[in-house]
Structures are given as structure tokens and as C-alpha cells.
Amino acid sequence: MSGSLADVEFALRSVTRTVLDNEKYFGDLDAVVGDGDFGYSLARGFEIVDAQFDDFDRTDPGVFLTKVAMTISGRIGGTSGPIWGTAMLRLGSALKGSDTFDAADVVAGLRKAVEGIQARGKAELGDKTLLDSLVPAIDTLEQQIEAGASPTNAVAAMAATARQAADDTAKLQARRGRASYTGERSIGSVDAGATAIAVILEKLAQDYQAR
């Protein structure tokens, strides 16, 4: 099994749509103990990705993702701009230099993205950030691929893990980001970023199914 630019375009279209459709929902999640701008910030960036979708450099899948990443960090403010921009930049860099990639490249690229997020934001697992659903989801993806699952099934499993992990963030106390100032009061509500990862992956799994 190998992927190409078309696969990246397909996935990115799905993510973009989900972010734009959930602007209000993501914002409401962030308002519980954060400042409510998470949905707005992401949407303002992905809005531009959407508008310029056809214009990004398509030399190869990695270059394409790199250019998208620069748009995102150039336009999204707050915590999410650097976090999401860095993540996509690292993933893009990992895929650069070849017209195709395989599932293992994707997993390796996502691991690099996580490293990038940690370099920027200094968060550990358990600090109640998007890492808490993203990292277990990547673990699941890796296991599925090693077990020989189809991309569709692998993404579906990944989404299920992310959802469970996102819901579990309700038990955690926020230790990074705006929500951390509330201390124990952050316990009881899910993390906005972690939930966004789950929502994005669930939609991606659906789209794969329907592809």
C-alpha cells in the first residue's frame, strides 16, 4: 500500500471541512475553562487553506504540506497557530522528497509532528492537551498497520482511540495552556484540543469509508 499527493489532498480537505464546520463547537469547548477562541483561531487559518487550496506548491506531498503549514502558522494566532503549524511542518518535512509514501512514513511523520508540538509547547502526556488524544491515536494507527489493516479500518480504529482518549481527558487537571490557570477546576470537562483531534479523525474515518 502506498500514498500519493491525492491522498494527502483528500485527507487535508476532510480536516479543513471539519475545522470549518466545528468552529462554534470547538470554541464552546475552549470556553469552559479556557478563553473560547480555539474554534475561531483554527477556522481563520483553515479558511485560508480552503481558499488557496489549489494554489499550494504541489512538487510532492511533503512540499504541499509544508506550504499549508506555513499558511497556518502565518495566520492562526493563540496557542494553536504555533502548535498546529509546527505539527504540519514536521509531518510535511518527513514526507518531502518523494512522490509517494507508505503507511510507516505516515506514522514516522506523525511522531515527528508530536516531537514538534512538544518542542514548542513543553507539554507532557497527561497535561490535558491535544497530545492526550493524538499520541494514543498514532499508537493505534501503528498497531493497525503492523497488523495489516486496510487504511480505512486503520483510520477508523485510530478515531475510536482518539474519541476514548479525548473523553478521558475530563479526568485530568490541565497543566498547560490557558486552562491550566484554573487548577482543579479544569477537572470534569474535556480538553478542547484533544476533542478536536477526535472529531477530525472521526470525520476522516467516515470520509475514507465513503471514498
Partner: protein
């Protein structure tokens, strides 16, 4: 939502346009980067001072641009740190031979944007340094967070580094003064109502008619605790009780006292709080040598106030006394 607004997405750009039109002779506005700068910047004999942060805290920081204060500011959207690109572009445009000092209120998003911008600027050989402001005593356990927040105390850091830079000081001297002021500045705030970001259209939290949020953040972050609304006297006790022992400020100290409105509280109430606080400090042997009452760092239309103390020495007092003027003016 009870606001003067057209399209909420254009809230920040339309505000910036208003600032530019109100100050055509002194201010340059660069819409692509939400950038407001002194038209006469950069000055190669002077360190340039830049602050960016989320919007919604006006007059901080876009309206703090002017001689003796900021050379430029590049706000993000309401309550969102500016994208790193904005900061980088701003640093580039005001880059002077003496260097650029980036002032950053200590929040995750702001730290990251300014760190990225500093890397980008250094890659282009711009002499640049970053100074973090973290005066909010409400954040008690900073082991796990990014640390204390920067709030109204940033006014004093801007004022001091702005004055020092105007004197022609070198970058490291300007930084030293900024760090010193930050180290003797403490703030605590209290909210009586929540605030409503224009793009969200609904309040960030709900406070009952008889409740207040003690130690509130300037982005609607909940504070130390929610409590029954009490008298102005008791509120001042609560604020001083958090701020004074923190440094601590002690009998014999000379201080600057700021009562800062959070956006929806009329200045009459701020002076009332000031009078009470000044009296209580005098009773503790602490002399209020400089006074600041009004809106310096707000949280949209939140009703509330913060109390800031700065321990003065001759150097700081002289820098605070130095002439300065900003966008946000009376006459």
C-alpha cells in the same frame, strides 16, 4: 451581544483603522500584519520596543504606541496571541542598529509566537531579545502552568524600557531595567461580570448577581475562587492581601499604585477603590508615591478591576516620570 461591531471577524482590523485615522501624523498602520507603529520608527540611536498580544485588552498594547513607550504593536485576534509571522514582520520593520526588544506577556501562545519570531528574526541577522512579563499573583501553583500571567503590570515595564530606550541605552541595559521592574511588580484582579468576545457572541462564563471572581484572568479565565460579592473595602483587603505579602511590600517602601479597570467599570468606582487602597497602604507604612487610575489593560467589557503595586527606587521612579505620549490620549 451588546457591542458596536460590524462583522466580528473585522473587529480588530476596524479598530486598528480607527486608531490610524485618529493619529494620521504619528502612526503607521500595516493591515496585513495588524501592525501599528510609530511613523518615525526605527530610530537607529534607540532600541525599538515591540509588544504583541491578543486583542481585547485595549488600550494595551496597540494604544500604548508612542514616544517613550512602544515603537510598535502587533495584536492577534481577540484573546489570541498574534501569529509568529506578524511578530517577525513587526520586528523587521522597526529593527534598529541598537536592536529590538520584544515584550511578551507570559502565556503559552504568546511565548511560542515570540520564540518563533525571534528565531526568524535572528536568521535575518536582526538583533533581537525577548522579555517576559508575569505580574499576576492570582496564579499560585506555577509548577505546572507556563507560570504567572502578564497583566496590567506590563504598563510599568513598557514605560520603564520605553524611557530607558529613549535615553539611548543599549539593548542589555534596557532589558535589565525591564526585568527589574517586572521583578518588583505584582497584580491581582477581580471580576464582577464576564466578557463577551465579539466572534463568540456570548459571555465566557456566568457570574450570579451576587458573585465575583477573585483573581480572574484577563481572558475570562476563572480565578482563584468564586465568592459572594462584598463591599469595596473588603475587596481592597482581598486584593492587598494577595499582592502585598507576595513580593512582599513592606513598611517604609515607596510604591506606585495602579487601579486598573477591566473595561466595564466606570472610572468613578476606580477612584473609589484607589482612595481605599491608598489609605490602607498608608496605614501599613507603605507610601504611594505615584498613582495610576483608569484603564490600562482590560478584558473587553468586563466589569472589574485589578490592583498593581510597583516597588520604586530612584531609577524606576525617574523612568516612570520621564515624558511619554501614546495613541490613547485625552487632548
Amino acid at each position: 451581544m451588546k457591542k458596536f461591531v460590524n462583522d466580528p471577524k473585522q473587529f480588530v482590523p476596524e479598530m486598528l483603522k480607527g486608531i490610524a485615522l485618529a493619529n494620521p501624523d504619528t502612526i503607521t498602520y500595516v493591515p496585513e500584519y495588524n501592525l501599528i507603529m510609530r511613523s518615525d520608527a526605527p530610530n537607529n540611536d534607540k532600541v525599538s520596543i515591540v509588544q504583541g498580544s491578543g486583542s481585547g485588552h485595549e488600550p494595551a498594547h496597540v494604544m500604548a504606541v508612542g514616544p517613550g513607550m512602544l515603537d510598535a504593536a502587533c495584536p492577534g485576534d481577540v484573546f489570541a496571541a498574534p501569529p509568529a509571522d506578524y511578530v517577525f514582520e513587526t520586528a523587521k520593520r522597526v529593527a534598529s542598529d541598537k536592536g529590538v526588544l520584544l515584550l511578551v506577556n507570559n502565556y503559552t501562545g504568546d511565548r511560542m509566537a515570540f520564540e518563533m519570531a525571534q528565531e526568524l528574526a535572528e536568521a535575518e541577522d536582526i538583533k533581537v531579545a525577548t522579555l517576559f512579563i508575569d505580574d499576576d499573583v492570582a496564579v499560585q501553583d506555577s509548577t505546572w502552568t507556563v507560570g504567572r500571567r502578564g497583566v496590567a503590570g506590563n504598563f510599568f515595564v513598557i514605560k520603564a524600557v520605553g524611557a530607558k530606550a529613549e535615553q539611548g541605552a543599549e539593548l542589555d541595559e534596557v532589558i535589565a531595567v525591564g526585568e527589574k521592574v517586572n521583578s518588583v511588580t505584582r497584580t491581582m484582579g477581580i471580576a464582577l461580570t464576564a466578557c463577551t468576545p465579539p466572534a463568540k457572541g456570548a459571555p465566557l462564563f456566568e457570574l450570579a448577581d451576587d458573585e465575583m471572581e477573585v483573581g480572574v484572568g484577563i481572558h475570562g479565565e476563572p480565578g482563584r475562587r468564586r465568592a459572594k460579592l462584598v463591599s469595596a473595602d473588603e475587596i481592597v483587603d482581598e486584593l492587598l492581601g494577595a499582592v502585598v505579602p507576595d513580593l512582599p511590600y513592606a513598611s517604609g517602601d515607596r510604591v506606585a499604585l495602579m487601579i486598573n479597570g477591566l473595561g466595564g467599570t466606570p472610572i468613578s468606582e476606580l477612584y473609589l477603590l484607589f482612595g481605599i487602597a491608598a489609605q490602607k497602604l498608608a496605614d501599613q507604612g507603605i507610601t504611594v508615591a505615584k498613582s495610576y487610575v483608569g484603564e490600562y489593560c482590560t478584558s473587553l467589557e468586563m466589569a472589574g478591576a485589578s490592583l498593581t503595586l510597583v516597588r520604586l527606587d530612584d531609577e524606576i521612579e525617574a523612568l516612570l516620570d520621564a515624558p511619554a505620549s501614546i495613541v490613547n490620549r485625552i487632548f
